[in-house]
């Protein structure tokens, strides 16, 4: 069955897996340690990610490593946009905090 990238990223666990392996290639065991679910459940998610080419497998000796395929992800969205958005939201909250602090100072 051919799966698409949208389906792959619809699930929060799969997004978490992508986030982890985007930083560094990981073995199935290393990945599974980050999740409360069973190793089988994590494997199932990886299989879906691999089927839509977001994840590549490479054999190093006896270990399999999962790599993130950023080229495929770029088909979905500008990968920098989430980082930008995160900081914008952070700084919006900081704006509010600063407004409150300034108001408090003026009262004193």
């Amino acid at each position: 069955m051919r799966r698409d990238v949208f389906q792959a990223i619809a699930d929060p666990t799969r997004r978490a897996i992508l986030t982890l392996i985007a930083l560094q290639a990981m073995t199935p065991n290393a990945l599974a340690e980050h999740f409360d679910t069973s190793r089988q459940a994590v494997s199932k998610h990886i299989k879906i990610l691999a089927e839509c080419q977001l994840v590549d497998q490479q054999q190093h000796g006896r270990e399999i490593y999962y790599h993130f395929n950023p080229e495929k992800m770029k088909e979905v969205a500008d990968w920098l946009a989430p980082f930008q958005k995160m900081w914008e939201e952070r700084f919006d909250r900081l704006d509010n905090l600063l407004e409150n602090l300034k108001a408090q100072q003026n009262v004193r």
Partner: protein, 167 residues
């Protein structure tokens, strides 16, 4: 107050650093406090759908810190730590940063926070992060990891929702 100030993120291809710049409508002393005092940090630093905890914040030159972000649904905890190289109120903060979720240690970056006074009681915040490798930098930028797993994915979620509607 006028419209929102722009957040400018610069990450040149193939470089080991990125920059974040933003101006604030508040005096420098006050902005500096919001970057340093735990009660203030907790009010803005944590990603919106994660809970932030300050495990340790020894905020002086030679000190250290550890912050933890946890998914609200109990899905996991992600720690960050570093040592504080220099705290020079109200203009400069230099510290290291390491994400604890990686399978190996040593992927440390160096952060410089510089606050500049602007006319009219305004402040410019400039952050420079320097990484060990281009891969480390790209990993952090692309993953949205620093802010927690789900935070950065709103745009993807929107895209996903619209693709479902279109189908």
């Amino acid at each position: 107050m006028s419209g929102k100030n722009t957040t400018r993120i610069t990450a040149e291809k193939g470089k080991q650093e990125f920059f974040i710049e933003r101006e604030f409508e508040a005096p420098r002393e006050l902005v500096f406090r919001t970057f340093n005092e735990p009660e203030f940090l907790l009010q803005w630093m944590g990603p919106s759908n994660m809970e932030m905890r300050i495990d340790k914040l020894d905020n002086r030159s030679g000190g250290s810190y550890r912050f933890v972000h946890s998914l609200c649904n109990g899905g996991g905890e992600f720690g960050f730590n570093g040592v504080i190289h220099e705290v020079s109120a109200p203009e400069r903060l230099i510290r290291t940063f390491e994400f604890e979720g990686l399978p190996e240690r040593g992927h440390v970056s160096l952060e410089f926070l510089t606050l500049t006074e602007l006319p009219g009681n305004r402040t410019r915040v400039h952050i420079q992060s320097v990484f060990k490798s281009v891969e480390d930098r790209d990993g952090l930028l692309q993953s949205g990891m620093e802010g927690g797993l789900n935070e950065g994915y709103n745009k993807l979620d929107e895209l996903l929702a619209s693709s479902i509607i279109n189908n």
